[in-house]
């Protein structure tokens, strides 16, 4: 074998270099040792939000080659299909070149180029007028950027509550479902213990944010022969390699999971010890129907929740380590009847309505399969339990000689979250994990620091009383613990333009970006002046009901003024949204700027350590573009926002790089956790280190702190971990984090719906709050199932992310688009034959919201009642530097056209956003459709079609032939 030490992910003996890597003497003249690069710059990939470490090889001043950084904790040397195609993104012909000011009608694409100073002056004047009068008239919404700690802070200093990033249309159900339950979440805040798990269940994942880590992990499971079970209507990608594929009917996972819970409870296969130690299972819940504390926890005068000590036969603090709490029974405390949480759980899920036989048909999964999976889970969790010989100490100071684990792990993402019942389904999965005792244990699902945090975590959303020239008293986004924390006015009307934290979406931890355009257009709850967006293609693939959204962006009032008066947008490329902006701020590419992947934002930590990272310019822009964050900082300074200017009015930060190093959120805590302190000697907290960025660059662009063995598991109750978490600033107090199987904050909303408390829902919303703010997870049908005629629209329609494309921005990539430039609608073979459809037919895909045309492909590996397509392949003519005959705009289609952005009117005539009623998460996957064959003259091209965008000034037409790399060879051969 090779002398080289195995490093990184692909270092199995069969993946290493030859034992002798000297070129053999073949004599064929092949240059086996050409020089590869003049220099290697290590930075962070941004072909997707996974944020892998990359080595960018620069040759002759151009990017020659990008590969994975072997030392990087995220990708350990591997790189995905997008990452390797970064070159083509960086040199894309669709790159914007200069600030643009609209000259033609909105949406035409007619612009003139302006200088940066003019652009910033226009923006400053506009925003400054808003700030002086009514700051919430600025709606600032950003996409899948990784600088929300900056953008949110900017919004807060500006004084508008109307800020959010894309999480609301993405996966807030997963984030909130987890954070309110276990103080961490699937999304990016946890991962399976890939090295120890023996049974892995994957719910509704095609690709995920954790792109490479999941792939690396699956590779490990496969190499070890661990069992992979996929629950997914579609059998592609990760689900293709599952040992067991369960082609569930969309939207029914909650039932499936609760049936597993039913089976486990019935058989007594739950981890009682774990429940007692780490969850609120023993906590007493008041059972006094009609009273204001019904369903709330019984607490002592210090506010500690109480349990029933089954030995002492009296209430004790649930947190008391020496207590012997009961899990069952009905007790009386202070004259109130109460029962432990666990009794409520047993009562609910042991009911026959959750039995496998009762749910099988609705799930499209046989009762036998459900029983088998339950048996397998129990068997692996309890008969194959593992023990690592690592001593550790729990929060109460008890020392354990080993770490015990139950090697069952789960992961779930948008197949769960993008339904209107996703929040509760996500909670149901966490309930299942916790009952099995598998959260943050060896072999189970593990938290990534800074998680776990208190469930729900600390800060509350701010901005209830936004005032001119006044910063908010905190950040716009946070976690509500009850109606008092909502952002609503006296009448119960939403304070935020997106209606987040209102009765329509109480736990909207990430805002509702998908409602902004409609609400701003409708002036509901109020009109705004400026819509400021960054890095999200809202006029196309990130909107539901796209055609109508486009119409709202261009709609005018009687006076002929646009209903959304002013739109500022920052994009790096000529996307479908750019033509709708009045002012375009062109961004750099990811290889040309500083970025900060911060622990204050969406960190890149992994279960065994904390990490953060930077991007830094590895090549210089050849266009008049500026990094958006630096532009935002300059805008902040021009506006004189507190925190952005010194007392003398001068700018506090030169640019983003300066901000990353010098900004302190609270004393000692800044965007980056590594190499803090004057000498770079401290981590987490510490003084500003002027050399910090260089230290990152020298270390390959990232910082990584690996935990000691005894800190790696049971983080919710691990003394050494909790102490460390406090020390580094992840959490405020080293107290154990208790999993909230029963959620008291949610019950508080239900009590309000029942008339208790001073914050009362408007009557129109009362029924919804009562129904959906259930403190225990439950299942209800996705809304569209109940509101559309299922005879007429019998099929579910889904999208999946192609692993080689990132939303809309992959199609400008000369390499990636060759792989997929037309998306087909995949239809089950039997379903197609029933409908008289054949392979390659063109069909209308119709929902109650409209119709779109596409071409079908027949397959077997899909739930028969489900059709699906690749997400965001369809493109609008004129965008992305594509030619007029590009398949994306002629044959590819966008399913979003037929996904409604609102529910059907309810009994009160009220329409809600098409979202989860708890969190406001967009319900992309609820849509029901029918498909019918096109007539012969309709076949061959997609509809709807939209007018072609004009090209921005100085856009050359995209090349007809690409010989990328030829120059390296020519130069190399010339040098020889």
């Amino acid at each position: 074998m090779s002398k080289a030490a195995p490093r990184g992910a692909n270092s199995a003996p069969s993946q290493r270099p030859l034992s002798d890597t000297h070129a053999p003497n073949e004599g064929d003249g092949v240059e086996t040792s050409p020089s590869v690069s003049d220099r290697i710059a290590k930075t962070t990939c941004y072909m997707c939000a996974c944020r892998c470490g990359i080595d960018v090889h620069i040759k002759d001043g151009k990017v020659r080659y990008i590969n994975g950084n072997k030392d990087h904790p995220v990708n350990r040397g591997v790189i995905c299909g997008k990452g390797s195609a970064g070159i083509m993104q960086h040199y894309s012909p669709a790159r914007l070149k200069k600030p643009l000011l609209r000259t033609g009608p909105r949406g035409s694409g007619e612009f003139r180029e302006i200088e940066w100073d003019e652009a910033l002056t226009i923006a400053t004047e506009r925003l400054s007028a808003i700030r002086r009068t009514d700051p919430k008239k600025l709606a600032f919404f950003t996409g899948r950027d990784q600088s929300q700690s900056l953008t949110g802070w900017w919004a807060s200093k500006f004084g508008t509550p109307n800020f959010a990033a894309h999480g609301g249309f993405c996966s807030v159900n997963m984030a909130a479902g987890g954070l309110y339950t276990i103080g961490g979440s699937f999304w990016e805040f946890g991962e399976p213990d890939w090295d120890n798990t023996r049974y892995f269940m994957l719910f509704g994942v095609a690709e995920d944010h954790d792109s490479n880590p999941i792939k690396i992990g699956l590779g490990k499971l496969k190499a070890r022969g661990a069992k992979v079970v996929s629950i997914n209507p579609c059998r592609t990608g990760y689900n293709a390699i599952a040992d067991d594929w369960i082609g569930i009917r969309p939207g029914s996972d909650g039932l499936f999971v609760l049936a597993l819970v039913h089976e486990l409870l019935k058989a007594g296969r739950v981890d009682l010890d774990y429940l007692l130690r780490y969850t609120n299972a023993p906590v007493l819940v008041v059972q006094e129907p009609g009273s204001a504390d019904d369903g709330l926890f019984v607490r002592d005068s210090d506010g500690n929740s109480l349990a029933w000590d089954r030995v002492a036969k009296q209430p004790v603090s649930a947190a008391a380590p020496e207590a012997k709490p009961a899990l069952t029974g009905s007790h009386e405390v202070g004259g109130r009847r109460c029962v432990p949480v666990f009794q409520l759980i047993a009562d609910r899920y042991l009911d026959d309505s959750y039995s496998p036989d009762a749910v099988a048909q609705r799930c499209g999964v046989s009762a036998d399969t459900i029983r088998r999976i339950a048996a397998e889970l129990a068997h692996v969790a309890f008969e194959q339990a593992i023990e690592l010989p690592i001593p550790w100490t729990d929060w109460a100071g008890r020392r354990h000689e080993t770490i015990k684990g139950r090697p069952v792990s789960m992961h779930a993402m948008r197949g769960i979250s993008a339904h209107s019942n996703g929040f509760h389904t996500c909670r149901a999965i966490h309930l299942l994990q916790v009952l099995l005792g598998t959260v943050d244990v060896p072999g189970g699902f593990r938290f990534k620091p800074p998680y776990p945090r208190c469930a729900p975590p600390g800060p509350k959303p701010c901005g209830k009383n936004a005032q001119p020239m006044t910063p908010l008293d905190g950040m716009p986004l946070g976690f509500v613990c009850g109606p008092d924390d909502l952002l609503v006015d006296e009448a119960g009307r939403p304070v935020r333009i997106d209606k987040a934290y209102s009765w329509e979406a109480p736990l909207a931890a990430h805002g509702l970006m998908h409602t902004v355009i409609r609400n701003a257009w409708a002036g509901d709850p109020y009109p705004i002046d400026t819509l400021f967006m960054y890095m999200s293609n809202m006029a196309w693939n990130s909107s539901m009901n796209t055609a109508e959204t486009i119409a709202m962006l261009t709609d005018k009032d009687e006076a002929g003024a646009y209903k959304i008066p002013f739109i500022i947008y920052s994009d790096a490329y000529y996307s479908e949204t750019v033509p709708f902006a009045d002012l375009v701020l062109p961004d750099t590419t990811y290889l040309e700027r500083h970025d900060c992947i911060s622990l204050l934002d969406r960190p890149i930590s992994h279960a065994d350590g904390a990490a953060d990272a930077i991007r830094h310019p590895v090549v210089q822009p050849d266009r008049d573009v500026r990094p958006f964050q630096s532009v935002l900082i300059e805008l902040g300074a021009r506006l004189g926002l507190p925190g952005f200017v010194e007392e003398d009015g001068s700018a506090t930060y030169r640019d983003y790089a300066d901000h990353i190093v010098n900004h302190q959120r609270t004393p000692g805590i800044g965007p980056l956790a590594g190499w803090r302190g004057k000498d770079g000697g401290s981590i987490g907290k510490g003084d500003v280190n002027p050399d910090q960025l260089q230290r990152y660059i020298d270390n390959g662009g990232f910082w990584h702190h690996e935990f000691a063995d005894g800190q790696r598991y049971y983080k919710m109750g691990n003394r050494a971990y909790l102490d460390f978490a406090v020390e580094i600033g992840f959490i405020a107090k080293a107290e154990p984090i208790v999993f909230q199987l029963y959620s008291e904050p949610i019950q508080r909303f239900r009590l309000a719906a029942r008339g208790h408390g001073k914050m009362q829902p408007p009557d129109a919303d009362r029924g919804r709050i009562e129904a959906y703010m259930d403190p225990l997870p439950f299942w209800y049908a996705p809304f569209e199932d109940d509101t559309v005629d299922l005879e007429k629209y019998p099929l579910h329609a889904l999208t999946q992310r192609p692993m080689h494309m990132y939303h809309s921005w992959g199609s400008q990539n000369a390499w990636l688009r060759q792989i997929t430039s037309q998306n087909r609608l995949f239809v089950h073979r039997q379903t197609a034959s029933k409908l008289g459809l054949a392979d390659d037919d063109w069909v209308w895909i119709e929902s109650v919201n409209g119709r779109v045309k596409g071409q079908i492909k027949l397959i077997d590996g899909v739930n028969p009642d489900t059709v699906w397509t690749w997400n965001a392949i369809g493109k609008r003519h004129g965008s992305w530097g594509l030619k007029d005959n590009a398949a994306e705009s002629n044959r590819g289609f966008l399913l979003n056209h037929i996904i409604g952005d609102q529910t059907s009117a309810d009994a009160n005539g009220k329409r809600y956003s098409n979202s989860d009623p708890v969190t406001g998460q967009a319900a992309w996957f609820d849509v029901r459709v029918r498909i019918t064959k096109c007539s012969a003259d309709e076949a061959g091209f997609t509809e709807p079609q939209f007018e072609r965008f004009a090209r921005p000034p100085h856009f050359e037409s995209s090349p007809d032939i690409l010989r990328f790399g030829a120059e390296f060879r020519v130069n190399r051969e010339a040098a020889e």
Binding site: M1, A4, P6, G8, N10, S11, A12, P13, S14, Q15, P17, L18, T21, P24, N25, E26, D28, V30, E31, N67, V78, C80, G81, G83, S84, Y199, K215, G219, K222, K227, R235, N239, I241, D243, K266, A267, G268, R269, L272, A326, L327, T328, Q343, R372, A375, M803, H804, A814, R817, Q818, D860, G861, K883, A886, S958, P959, L962, R963, F964, G965
Partner: protein, 244 residues
């Protein structure tokens, strides 16, 4: 020289694990970006932004559905040159441009000799030859001959670009002529197969079949769950458990 070496010192090749490949295309674009600036540079793309995009790629990933009486499976299937032991792509070549290296068995095209007659692509059953219409010559997977021996790369990086990239570790590289090599043992263990063996090209590369169809699939032999029968049912059981 298009006569084949009687034997080669090594039989370098790839092994692809179809049980693990998720079809992510990482190997595809990693191959493209390495090679477009590498030995056979460029890997030209014709009409890259238009309706008939057609580029040169040395590695392409298909997706199939394999259905047997035991059920169905979706299989992602990367396809590149198999560096055959009896490659007619070489022997048909009229110019000597195509050849098989005697040292390591890699099949290469010497572009400077190629007249672009395309016969080798007709002779390759596996579709592993890629014609660069812009340059007018045939190109193909080089097994990263300019990486695996490259002194300018760190030793640990001297593996094919596609193998280094693959996030699931589904790709393996080594000497398949040496039965003791790790890769040969992997093939042995997992019952690696050759493609179209009936044509007699004796491909060097091997594919490890998906396990879901075979005895090797991960299984859990769990006894069925029995409801608690004892007194008080589940809740009674809990009380007893906790009082122990």
């Amino acid at each position: 020289m298009t006569c084949l070496p009687a034997q080669t010192d090594k039989k370098l090749g790839l092994v692809i694990d179809l049980d693990t490949c998720v079809g992510c295309q990482a190997c595809v674009t990693a191959c493209k970006e390495w090679n477009t600036g590498g030995h056979m540079a460029p890997l030209t793309d014709i009409d890259p932004y238009g309706g008939h995009a057609d580029g040169v790629w040395f590695n392409r990933v298909h997706a199939y559905e394999h259905t047997t009486e035991r059920g169905g499976r979706t299989v992602n299937f990367p396809r590149s040159c198999l560096h055959c032991e009896q490659p007619a792509c070489v022997t048909v070549c009229p110019t000597g441009a195509s050849y098989k290296r005697a040292s390591d068995g890699i099949v290469l095209v010497d572009e400077s000799k190629c007249i672009g007659c395309k016969l080798c692509s007709w002779a390759c059953p596996y579709g592993a030859r890629e014609f660069d219409a812009d340059v007018g010559v045939m190109k193909k997977c080089t097994l990263c001959v300019d990486r695996i021996y490259n002194d300018n790369l760190a030793e640990e990086d001297r593996v094919p670009a596609c193998v280094a990239a693959c996030p699931t570790s589904a790709r393996h590289f080594g000497d398949l002529g040496d039965p003791t090599s790790a890769i040969s043992q992997l093939v042995e263990e997992r019952g690696g197969v050759a493609l179209m063996p009936e044509l007699g090209y004796k491909p060097t590369n091997r594919y490890l079949p998906p396990r879901a169809h075979s005895e090797g699939a991960a299984k859990v032999d769990a006894p069925a769950l029995e409801p608690i029968k004892a007194e008080g049912g589940f809740l009674g059981w809990i009380d007893r458990m906790l009082s122990n």
